[in-house]
Symmetry: C2
Subunit: 421 residues, 2 copies
């Protein structure tokens, strides 16, 4: 293939990309146009095989690392140069939609295919990546694949983490690696000495701003920080009919007090702070046995690292201060600092969008993404497209084919640009 100046954006196909998205959405389809495709499941493996089946005819080479991250490499004219990396994740929330994550992977495939079809060759290789377990819905926390790839955590950190069935992440990962033993194994990114030259992630906004301002492309400036905790309240089980309330150690009642106190700690009149309790497990969970144990999750996010530190560090004290009869343990499960993306990628996104005549908005990301960890090791950035009603993590999540095509065109431009530097 000759190195020629070409316009890869014009080779992006709106219908091809949309058809692939709809085909992927069949794997784990749930009522209301939703998707439930947890990581390291048979459905996840089917989705990965489908991706490979689309990529191999384009001349892309698959490989998998020790944490299960899947790569598809388009060779560059100078193969020894560090590659440009582009992708996202293929796992979904339990009650998720058809676009979160998977679109970033398929947009990278569309962009690379467009670069090929435009007859263009890039100096640097381009690697499409699908990170393992970004959502954290089955195994908490999320972003395990990118944390391991960037050396932020060793890849065996989460081996003992269990899903609600009691299966461990370690055992399920081994099962997947075994099922994919025909795919060549590669080293673990930065840990094994291979740092990309840049990372670009396309994603739906998962917020209302692009739609509200009627703009096509979000130029993501950074990602707010996140801290996840698990609180476990330890009470005593007693008979619900015979035990006077004053003699109980009711884990449900003390959980209510703890969450009410946390609501007060996390109160923010500006409504910038995100505080969510969304997972609760009671034991023995029998209506006529006073709860012996109540476990709940805390998802706390803020763009300001001082707020994250001060309020996050206060959680344990506030929980314990709210209890009347029970005791509690508070465990931090995940801690990601707020980050600001490098100008290299932001400028490339704005330039590519301008070249397409698309309206852009600089905005931070409320959700965390694998890009948050890549930003620690190489210039990284993200491209957002509008989310209807700002809704995500729900079957009704929606972005139009035209908006998705615009995003893929920008990504194609950015990859062609960065891979030629």
């Amino acid at each position: 293939m000759d190195r020629v100046a070409a316009d890869p954006a014009s080779a992006v196909s709106e219908t091809r990309q949309w058809d692939r998205l709809m085909e992927m959405a069949k794997l784990g389809a749930i009522p209301g146009d939703g998707v439930n495709r947890a990581c390291l499941t048979e459905l996840d493996r089917q989705a990965r095989r489908l991706l490979i089946a689309w990529a191999e005819p384009l001349g892309l080479t698959p490989s998998v690392d020790v944490i299960g991250n899947l790569f598809l490499r388009m060779e560059g004219t100078e193969p020894a140069l560090a590659p440009v990396l582009a992708g996202s994740h293929m796992d979904s929330q339990p009650n998720g939609g058809r676009f979160d994550g998977i679109w970033g992977v398929l947009a990278a495939l569309e962009a690379v295919q467009a670069i090929r079809e435009a007859g263009m060759a890039t100096r640097r290789p381009i690697e499409i990546v699908a990170w393992t377990n970004e959502e954290g819905g089955r195994f908490a926390p999320g972003c395990m694949g990118s944390m391991a790839y960037t050396g932020y955590r060793p890849p065996d950190t989460w081996d003992a983490v269990t899903d609600t069935e009691g299966l461990t992440f370690g055992a399920e990962l081994r099962r997947q690696l075994e099922a994919e033993r025909d795919i060549p194994r590669r080293g673990l990114g930065v840990v094994d000495g291979a740092t990309p030259s840049a990372y670009v992630e396309a994603h739906i906004e998962q917020g209302p701003r692009l739609e509200a301002e009627d703009l096509e492309i979000g130029v993501v400036t950074g990602i707010q920080g996140s801290r996840w905790f698990t609180v476990e309240i330890h009470g005593r089980s007693d008979h619900a009919g015979t035990t006077p309330l004053r003699l109980r150690k009711d884990a449900v009642q003390d959980m209510l007090r703890a969450i009410a106190a946390l609501n007060a700690l996390m109160h923010d009149p500006e409504d910038v702070l995100r505080f969510t309790v969304a997972r609760i497990e009671i034991s023995p969970n029998s209506s006529n046995s006073v709860a012996e144990r109540a476990r709940f999750s805390i998802d706390f996010r803020h763009p300001d690292r001082t707020v994250l530190a001060e309020r996050g560090d206060a959680i344990e004290r506030v929980v314990k201060g709210a209890l009347t009869t029970c005791s509690a343990t508070v465990t931090e499960r995940f801690n990601a600092d707020p980050i600001t993306f490098d100008r290299l990628v932001r400028d490339a996104v704005e330039k590519a969008a301008r070249a397409q005549g698309l309206g852009t908005l600089r905005l931070p990301s409320g959700a965390f993404h694998d890009a948050q960890f890549l930003a620690r090791v190489c210039p990284s950035g993200m491209i957002f497209v509008p989310s209807r009603g700002g809704v995500s993590h729900h079957p009704s999540e929606y972005t139009s084919p035209a908006h998705l095509a615009a995003g893929a065109r920008v990504l194609a431009g950015v990859l062609a640009d960065l891979a030629d530097r």
Copy 2:
């Protein structure tokens, strides 16, 4: 066998009864001396087979009715007379103990064996009964077996009730009836025209009073009423990182408000009222997706039917009034009036205890029991023995072998007395 005056109480064996209890406790044993033996499981069926294996050599005849209640009949000298019924249940709470329910069945077996061994024959038949699903831990509500037997509800009322695995009561009952098709089938008690002459249930107190007053036998005066509800809060799932709190419909947060309002409704300075929220299920139950649905149980009990009516009927209004952004549905699952036991059984219990030189206390039952439904159709009553620390529905539930033997002696005297009238 001759009809002779004899003292069946003296033939009660403390060690035989205790050994049988410990043997039964192996079926579903959990750490800390506990038992988890849910109704209509393989463990339940093993326990029923073990009971039959102990009863048949004594000349007792097993039979099963359409709701799975198991009977073991000792014939009387006048077989046409209505039998005296004695027993309890063999299912346990998920995190239950070794005595709740099962002791009432084994005490009846011990009492009948003692009557036999004392060389005594009774005019009336005596039937030992093990009621289906008293606990309601797997399939709510409890007392299905006695409700069906007494005609309080048709036996197919609960066919569609599901356990946490999604299995239905109807299908699991059919499976059990099929597995026990070698046991003779009998009619459904009162519904099919067979009303017992009396019903006696021996049970651990599940409260602290007998222990505190150092008395052996509780003469149960009645049972407080119970109302069970399920509340379902309907919100909307959203991304925990991107969705401002003011735009959310968070089912967990509105559940907290609803329970706090219910705590106020149910406040009772006398501490007689029992209000318990012990079962909670969140959907999708993923830490970074705002809760779309929160379902919780209400177990509400009181000895006064006016309080039960007024506060129970207010639950739906109070829940709905507490919500800020979500909607709710409130469903009543179980409603048992408070009852007062007949003097016939109470007097027989006091007389038998006096004959043994045992100290008695008249007291109401805080827990509900199958006797609550039997009391609607025949003279019924209960014998309590002390519970260490008042604890039940927990592995540490304990009653001493000596106290259990005293209870069985009183039951033997009561059955011999009532079956001769």
